[in-house]
């Protein structure tokens, strides 16, 4: 029985695929070019399931995939019931509160809740609750920065890699919430039921991380 790996498509796949290849786990055809949703590995031990980054934890938690790769941002937001034994060290970014330089609340009405645009409503509300700041969260699906630029929100909570998009839109980082990167995750049942294979994969990828 092959070991099924949920692979996030898009930007993360561009880093995940060469990382796995450097670890000796190579797909039978290039994952970033294929339109197939399931691709076996050349060695035949693994099967890659190509899924949206935001869906990878769900496929693993529900046992459709035995393991997978997911960003820590998605893991914190969704809090799936999975094991997260390895920080893979790529797709590094920061979860931040950003906005226009002069805007971090309302001077007009200091009691008005902070309006926040984000793809990560749970992370945003938990962070602001912890800071004891009243907030109103607007869940957006993409291009979150524009929420602050056009005045939909006072600030955005989003991930930042280089900060170029923020700068180009005249936004600055007000606060840093958490560092994020890609993680190897496992379905709990698969971890224990296929312990030997699960640990073999972990060891291969641990060595890959060590060898940089």
């Amino acid at each position: 029985m092959t070991y099924r790996l949920a692979m996030p498509t898009g930007r993360m796949l561009k880093q995940a695929e060469p990382f796995l290849a450097a670890c000796g786990i190579v797909a039978s055809e290039p994952l970033s070019k294929t339109r197939k949703l399931k691709v076996p590995s050349k060695c035949g031990r693994y099967e890659f399931l190509l899924v949206k980054p935001v869906d990878a934890p769900l496929y693993v938690e529900q046992g459709v995939a035995d393991a997978g790769i997911a960003g820590r941002d998605v893991l914190i937001e969704q809090a799936p019931d999975v094991l997260e034994p390895l920080d893979l060290g790529f797709a590094v970014c920061r979860m931040v509160v950003a906005g226009l330089p002069q805007t971090n609340g309302s001077e007009d009405n200091p009691l008005r809740p902070l309006r926040v645009a984000t793809k990560y409503p749970r992370i945003a509300s938990r962070y602001l609750n912890k800071k004891r700041r009243a907030s109103e969260i607007f869940k957006l699906s993409g291009s979150v920065e524009i929420g602050a630029v056009l005045g939909l929100a006072d600030v955005v909570v989003d991930i930042v890699e280089t900060g170029t998009t923020l700068r180009e839109n005249g936004l600055v980082i007000h606060e840093e919430i958490v560092d994020c990167s890609a993680h190897l995750i496992y379905n709990r049942g698969a971890w224990y039921s296929r312990l030997q294979e699960s640990r073999a994969l972990l060891e291969i990828l641990e060595n890959g991380v060590k060898n940089g």
């Binding site: 938690e61 046992g63 969704q78 799936p80 019931d81 999975v82 094991l83 049942g189 640990r199």
Partner: protein, 351 residues
């Protein structure tokens, strides 16, 4: 016309799936009775104080007279409250089995269930290591009786984890969560935040998982006296179980943390490749009855009946119900005759 729905995370079943669930629960009850456990029926409504250890996860209700109520959030704690007077009045051992639903709030995640059906046992005044091994033998027998022979019984020890966590880490929920996720980088991150100088041993807990060889691996890491004693107990347990042996697999996971902190000795969970969540859990809790002024060494376990029914081989009962036309003049007489003959029968159609 009203279109009403049920809240997310609640249990709803009808037809073959519901039959399977009922059969699993009945099978577990048979095994429990076979081991000398007596039925314990507990109320669904309860008061908050019963579940104060899981404050924030139990539901809060107010009845029309203003009384604050909750729904049963954990069988073991409700059973402790119910059975404490009997234990105080007599020195004898008590063996109770239960079946019913528990209700715990889960923030809306993937398929998080707020309502689960459990069947389990409380073995009270179960003093001695033989009861630890017996509990796992019981769990194995339950699995086999439900047709499951390829699950993994994963055993840890509360004393070992508590000892390695130390005074600083013992009560930190973030550290417990990082351990539960087997996430060494987060374990180091939280350990640093709460002032644990050397998190090396803690960060190794996630990999202390496998056959009984991990007990020796752990010993070689130079753990303290309390942890060594826990490893001795696990070794003795492994010896006892090897002589049986169990039908399902047995693994040791020294990084295992339970979500309730009343466990004091061995702890276990049951996993299966077809399910991401545990099918059963249990262990030893010798201090639970102290809050009732009693010293009652105890072990117990609980099965997630729905999870078990989802994994158990699907043996749907053939529907051999005789359908009797309700418009027939002697429909009722036919039905009663069939039933008195011990056959499955019902009325169908319009009279």
């Amino acid at each position: 016309m009203r279109h009403l729905t049920f809240p997310p995370g609640t249990e709803l079943a009808f037809g073959p799936q519901a039959e399977r669930l009922e059969r699993v629960s009945a099978t577990l009850a048979d095994v429990f009775r076979g081991w000398g456990f007596q039925s314990l029926q507990l109320p669904t409504f309860d008061v908050h104080e019963t579940f104060r250890e899981i404050a924030g996860r139990h539901y809060r209700l107010t009845d029309p007279e203003g009384r604050e109520l909750t729904l049963r959030a954990d069988f073991t704690q409700a059973a402790a409250k119910a059975l404490a007077p009997l234990l105080a009045a007599s020195e004898r051992q008590l063996r109770a089995w239960y079946h019913g639903r528990v209700f715990r709030f889960e923030s809306s995640g993937h398929a998080a269930r707020v309502e689960t059906t459990q069947s389990g046992v409380e073995w009270l005044r179960a003093d001695g290591r033989v009861f630890d091994a017996a509990l796992l033998a019981l769990a194995d027998e339950c699995l086999v009786a439900c047709g499951i022979t390829d699950a993994q019984i994963v055993v840890g020890h509360a004393g070992f984890v508590q000892s390695v966590l130390g005074d600083n880490g013992r009560n930190d929920p973030d550290l417990a969560e990082a351990l539960d996720q087997k996430n060494p980088s987060r374990i180091r991150e939280v350990a640093k935040r709460i002032g644990i100088d050397d998190p090396t041993l803690l960060a190794k807990l996630p990999v202390l998982c496998g056959g009984r060889e991990v007990l020796n691996d752990a010993r070689e890491l130079g753990v303290g006296d309390e942890a060594t004693q826990a490893l001795d107990e696990l070794n003795a347990l492994a010896d006892s179980l090897e002589s049986l042996p169990l039908t399902n697999g047995l693994l040791f996971d020294l990084g295992e943390v339970r979500r309730f902190d009343y466990y004091s000795g061995i702890m276990f969970k049951v996993y299966h490749s077809a399910s991401g969540s545990e099918l059963a859990g249990g262990g030893r809790y010798d201090s639970l009855y102290q809050s009732h002024g009693l010293s009652v060494p105890s072990v117990g376990l609980a099965f997630d009946d729905v999870g078990l029914a989802g994994v158990a081989p699907q043996r749907n009962r053939a529907d051999d119900t005789t359908l009797i036309d309700a418009s027939s003049p002697d429909a009722l007489a036919q039905l009663v005759a069939q039933r008195r003959g011990g056959n499955s029968a019902t009325l169908e159609g319009n009279a």
